[in-house]
């Protein structure tokens, strides 16, 4: 071990305790010599032993303490003293002494025994008188009194008593409730060979700098001194700072991915008419997704306005009899159903709106959005009524299914998923349709993260007037968040538990 390093990294408490060890060894003495509190010395000794600078031995000792009566007499004085004080020069009857000295009967008897054995009193005509020996006793503190006073200030072990003290202790012990002993481990420390070297080295560092202050910098005092080394491995208390909510962190990353690939951001409202949410997406009016148990409707305003008539009629025709080459759904389309306000069930309605505004000269065009969508779901560990959806479209005469697979794989690669599977699926407004699965890195199971496809001509033609391939996808983000943050209950993502938000790792992909 490097002595210099060892010495330099000593803690302040260690540095204060160490020099004392050359002179004294017991904990009690070290406390006195260092001027530290007992717990501080104990901590320092523990650390020093861990570093093999000292060797600690502990011995069981009986510590003497004042008992109940002892504490009482500390205030009132010992009964024998009070006895003598009551006596004065003239003799007194026992009853009078008892009253004058505020003594109990048993105390009175004890006093007589003690004082007689010390020849401090004599009995004459049923009266008690003080002797000259007694007068001497009255002037000074008895050995017992001295011990009692000392016990208050210091912790004394039985084995450490001096002869006179031992005599006093034995006397007190005979009496009821004056002193008691409790066992205690007494620690002594001894410097090891290493310790002696460290002590020598420590002398040089006596005036080492702890905290660098502006004063030192101004005065240049640091120049002549050494810096105390820190234990850089020591654990520090946790702190936390301001940060974005975890879902926002993910959203920002996802936006970055699409921006890097040249996509333009789409925006739109959360409340939409069924027209934009369903009808413009070639979702038949009797499709189960439009039912109350799947979609949220508004009480008031229950209905919104439809876009211009020509456009609405094109959508109506697509549903009823189809566009060129299509049979359509072959039912009677009702504009009243299309007017019903809903909370958007997907952000695909934004894609429909974006396509509708495009002119031929705008092509090819690529759009994305990240936004909330709403499903009438009962909350449980894997269902939520508000979810975050990533939406994307590529509107291009030459777009094809292989391009769609490529965009999806590229996105998920940037999201950290290398194993991506595209398999057939069904949505009313896409054909071909697919579902995107990623391989869960731990569970090794395919996890469904979203749907995609090429918009059907029945959807695209009314929107833009021509059958142009539109690659489209709508992907959920919550499952990725759960996987990354190791969250098992989807509700915990939006629980806003501040402890969780302060402690959770950042989204780094």
């Amino acid at each position: 071990m490097d002595i210099k390093r060892l010495t330099a990294t000593l803690h302040q408490l260690e540095r204060k305790t160490l020099p004392c060890l050359a002179k004294v060894n017991s904990l009690k003495e070290l406390v006195k010599a260092s001027g530290l509190k007992e717990v501080e010395v104990m901590r320092a000794l523990q650390w020093l032993q861990n570093k093999k600078i000292i060797k600690l031995t502990s011995e069981k000792k009986e510590i003497i303490k004042l008992d109940e009566n002892g504490k009482k007499y500390l205030k009132t004085g010992l009964p024998e003293k009070r006895f003598l004080q009551a006596l004065k020069n003239t003799g007194l009857a026992l009853e009078e002494i008892k009253k004058e000295g505020a003594l109990e009967n048993d105390e009175l008897n004890v006093c007589i025994g003690i004082l007689k054995s010390r020849a401090a009193i004599t009995f004459k005509d049923k009266k008690v008188a003080i002797t000259s020996q007694g007068k001497n006793l009255l002037k000074k503190k008895s050995l017992e009194e001295q011990l009692i006073n000392k016990l208050v200030k210091e912790t004394i072990a039985k084995s450490e008593l001096k002869d006179e003290e031992r005599f006093a202790y034995e006397n007190l012990k005979k009496r009821k409730g004056l002193v008691k002993t409790t066992p205690r481990k007494e620690v002594t420390a001894e410097l090891t060979e290493l310790g002696k070297q460290v002590t020598k080295e420590a002398v040089k560092l006596k005036n080492a700098i702890d905290t660098l202050t502006p004063q030192m910098l101004k005065g240049g005092a640091w120049k002549k001194k050494q810096f105390r080394w820190y234990d850089v491995k020591i654990n520090v208390p946790n702190i936390s700072g301001g940060r974005r909510h975890l879902a926002n962190e993910v959203t920002e990353h996802v936006k970055r991915i699409w921006l890097e690939m040249g996509f333009k951001e789409m925006k739109g409202t959360i409340v939409q008419t069924s027209f934009w949410n369903f009808d413009a997406l070639f979702t038949a009016q009797d499709h189960p997704v439009r039912e109350l148990q799947d979609t949220y409707y508004l009480k008031d305003p229950a209905k919104g306005k439809l876009p211009d008539k020509t456009f609405v009629n094109k959508v109506k025709r697509a549903h009823e009899t189809g566009v060129k080459g299509s049979t359509g759904w072959q039912y009677k389309w009702d504009p009243r159903n299309a007017m019903l306000n809903v909370l958007r069930t997907h952000t695909t309605c934004l894609s429909a709106q974006a396509i509708h505004t495009l002119k031929k000269s705008d092509l090819p065009a690529k759009f994305f959005s990240v936004g909330r969508n709403f499903r009438n779901e009962t909350l449980d560990w894997h269902h939520l009524f508000e979810l975050t959806q990533v939406e994307g479209i590529v509107v291009d005469e030459n777009a094809n299914l292989r391009n769609l697979v490529a965009y999806l794989k590229e996105f998920f690669k940037k999201m950290g998923y290398l194993d991506v599977r595209i398999r057939p699926a069904y949505f009313p407004y896409t054909e071909p349709s697919c579902e995107v699965d990623v391989l869960h890195p731990v569970k090794k199971k395919w996890v469904e993260l979203g749907g995609a496809g090429i918009f059907r001509p029945e959807m695209v033609v009314p929107l833009i007037g021509k059958d142009i391939p539109v690659l489209a996808w709508g992907l959920g983000l919550e499952r990725s968040m759960m996987e990354y943050y190791k969250i098992t209950d989807i509700r915990d993502i939006y629980k806003n538990d501040l402890k969780q938000l302060r402690e959770i790792k950042s989204w780094i992909k």
Binding site: F263, T273, A425
Partner: protein, 546 residues
Amino acid sequence: MPTIKLNKQVLLKKLGKKLSDDELKDRISYLGTDLESIEGDQINVEIFPDRPDMLSEQGFGRAFNSFMGKDVGLKKYKVHDSGEKVIIDKSVKKVRPYTACAIVKNLHLTDENIKELIRIQEKLHASFCRNRKRAAIGIYPMEKIKLPIYFKALPRTKIKFRPLESRQEMTALQMLSRHKAGREYAHLLEGLDEYPLFIDSTNQILSMPPIINSHLTGKVTEKTKEVFIECSGFDFRVQSQCLNILITTFADMGAEIYSMDLYYGAKKLTTPDLSSRKMKLDLKHANKLLGLNLKEPQVKKLLGRMGYGYSKGKALVPAYRVDVLHQVDLIEDIAIAYGYENLEPEIPRIATTADEDKFERFKNKIANILVGLGLMGVNTYHLANKEHQTKKMGVEIDTIELANPTTKEYDVLRAWMIPSLMHVLGENLHNEYPQNIFDIGTIFKRNKTTETGVEENDRLAVALCGPDTDFTKIKQVLDYLFRCIDIKYEVEEAEHPSFIEGRVARITAKGKKVAYIGEIHPKILQNWDISMPVTAFELNLSELLD
């Protein structure tokens, strides 16, 4: 989506090939059905709603086999002519105008088959038939009925028969109020004075669609060798499709199909019609959309694996397929047969300019400024509780209610953000203070001029909660924010029941009232069980950016 259970051994026996569970899982997924699990011999699969023809073991097996290369191409089903009649009375025109019917003979029903029949009927009713709204199916043992069959409507008060699983005769109205199926589907006959009935030539009622069959004629048993099948509803095309799906399933069980002549007045229609439909396939378009270079023989082969025939640029679509509206539907099936897993990804080199929405960028900037001040971003729901938005904040404001909330806890769209933050603080009483939080989110209010009648604004709400917070602290945040975005603002004294009187202000910027700021009133804090001072502001960001 409906889920069906398949027996693995039966499926593999039909295929005549051994597959491991992993191979089976993989193939089922790439066929275009959603595999849920394989547990022992049971396969659980979700069928997408466009393929009701796959809702039975027979239908699924048919699609799976050809996908795997067995029995490829258009499957031919023979339809015998029974010459039997169904007479459709004009009284049904207003209540349930159409039916499509057939007779099936030579049935070899086992207990398992009968259960399967009930299952198919249930799955079709639930999905393709939209809970019997679009179509309802009835199957009757021939030995109990006497042809021809009449389909007619009678006044509802005059109908009386013994419904399935009932001990006695009931009137139509009794059935609708007392019988289990009656109660469940009564809404489908709502508002009608006459109810539709199938009646045989002895004047025996067979059923009252779409509610219930007669107990006397409606039960198929192991002894049943021949059945009469009808499907009734509002669209002859839908009724025929439904019948076709059912009939082909029977045929796949080994039964023989017989057609019936339906007399709609003078007009005679014969069902079932199992002839295939021709659909033009533009090979060039298919290749363009898939990014492939398939030749005609290849396409013919691929279509064959999805159960289609092909002849001279036209696909022959089987009569049980209801999902083929346009050639894109053929193109998808070509892709499925080709294998989605075999599509080589290719990112096209098209140059487009990325463009982040300016307002989104602005909001992001605001969030970063607040994070710099050490505030914690939270993310709260747009759905809120009406009480939280109003009473609990001591205010009476207009909120937009949902027509069908899932729970009372979330019954409105939020009209302001501070209650969302109060909710967060109220849920974090056990966590360390100070709790300084913010959220940027959308709020909703009525506005007749918008498309939906609802106006949406993006707002920022900040709340400082802790022993040392006060008006100065919250105003410092607001002031710093305005300096960072370089917008001047004015402060005026205000009144607001959520805040302490004399410690609340209104903020004006760009000539618009954009924010309230102040110390939340202790009585409001009490409502949320918060025993720590809270100061807050709510700023309308939509007004700040030009």
